[in-house]
Amino acid sequence: MTMTLRDIINKLLRRQPASASTARERLQLVLAHDRSDLSTELLDQMRKEILEVVAKYVEIDVDEGAVSLETEDRMTALVANLPIKRTMTGQIQLKEPTNQSEEETESTDQKS
């Protein structure tokens, strides 16, 4: 996204941005949807499923996660922005392994 000197001054003075930048942003959004023919329902469904898959592996901030369409040079991309929660020590928080085979090995470990 580009910002001009006027945009910055408007921001500092808490004025409404000049309407051209609003027009540009609204167009970019609406065209990404027009070009992909994806309905908002489908996009929402996809967002939900993508979040579910990723949440299996890492702890993510579900409320902050966003999946959106972006378009540039007539190429449309599906962009997922999924903030990963960090542990106190700054490490990425991996999920406890939950699938069956792992549980089985754990239980055999306990027996021996």
Partner: protein, 271 residues
């Protein structure tokens, strides 16, 4: 006989953005350069090209009679009074829309190609049959738009269709540019529109009251008022079509003085 005729579709999606005005003025400008040019009114529902060229009283036959073989092509063509290199093929009855097929448009354009260097097709608004028929007969296209959200959005639809139908090149004309509003960033900039639509810019046309005056008279600006701001733009577009390297006017240069300098400063991109 012309051998390498250029057949150019002039389209926009949205209505009222300036297709017919551009077709008329490009027709005159190209004819002025000595190029034989046919303008074909493909807006059968709401024909207007005859009126803009001041030829409405000289129509005897139309594209319809040519297709129905009730007359020869040269009987239907209306030669312009002052620019004899320019001819109009008028649109027929609106009921033509009921039966016209892409092949009919191709037949007409093939006939025109035998006689002219340029065939400019003034396209109807919308992306339905009228547009698709006209597109079927075209090789290249000029998309006309205004620096407004609805016009740009509709142009994008049309560009998508032109791309899937392998029309090329597709070039952009940005019409009704208001330098002062652009400088105040209250109008999408040239760069905004070309970036969003990802098309090369063939030219821009300034907002100009004289356009209305010339329409009233049925004399395109490029015919008699060549010094009006919009006329210069149209003439430049015609030259660029012919491969001349004419620099774009900078809309910010159009307004001068301290105010303009300040507005230019405010447009500086920070990031």
């Amino acid at each position: 006989m012309a051998t390498d005729t250029r057949v150019i579709l002039i389209c926009s999606g949205k209505g009222g953005v300036g297709k017919t005005t551009l077709t008329a003025n490009l027709g005159i400008s190209l004819a002025r350069q000595g190029l034989t040019t046919a303008v074909l009114d493909a807006d059968f529902g709401l024909r207007n090209l005859d009126l803009l060229l001041g030829l409405e009283n000289r129509i005897v036959y139309t594209a319809q009679e040519v297709l129905e073989e009730e007359c020869r092509l040269d009987q239907a063509l209306v030669k312009h009074k002052q620019e004899s290199n320019l001819s109009l093929l008028p649109a027929g009855n609106p009921r033509m829309l009921d039966w016209l097929k892409p092949d009919d448009m191709k037949r007409i354009v093939d006939m025109l190609k035998e006689q002219f260097n340029y065939v400019l097709i003034d396209c109807p608004a919308g992306v339905e049959d009228g547009f698709k028929n006209a597109m079927a007969a075209s090789q290249e296209a000029i998309v006309v738009t205004n620096p407004e959200v609805s016009a740009v959005r509709d142009a994008d639809r049309v560009i998508g269709l032109l791309n899937t139908n392998s029309i090329k090149p597709v070039q952009l004309v940005l019409n009704r540019v208001r330098p002062k509003m652009m400088a105040n960033q209250e109008m999408l900039s040239i760069e905004d529109v070309t970036d969003i639509l990802a098309l090369p810019l063939l030219g821009l046309v300034l907002e100009d009251e004289q356009v209305i005056v010339s329409t009233n008279r049925g004399e395109p600006l490029t015919l008699n008022s060549v010094n009006s701001p919009a006329a210069k733009c149209y003439l430049n577009i015609a030259k660029r079509l012919q491969g001349e390297n004419i620099p774009l006017i900078d809309p910010l240069e159009e307004s001068s003085g301290f105010g303009a300098k300040f507005r230019r400063l405010m447009q500086t991109k920070i990031f």
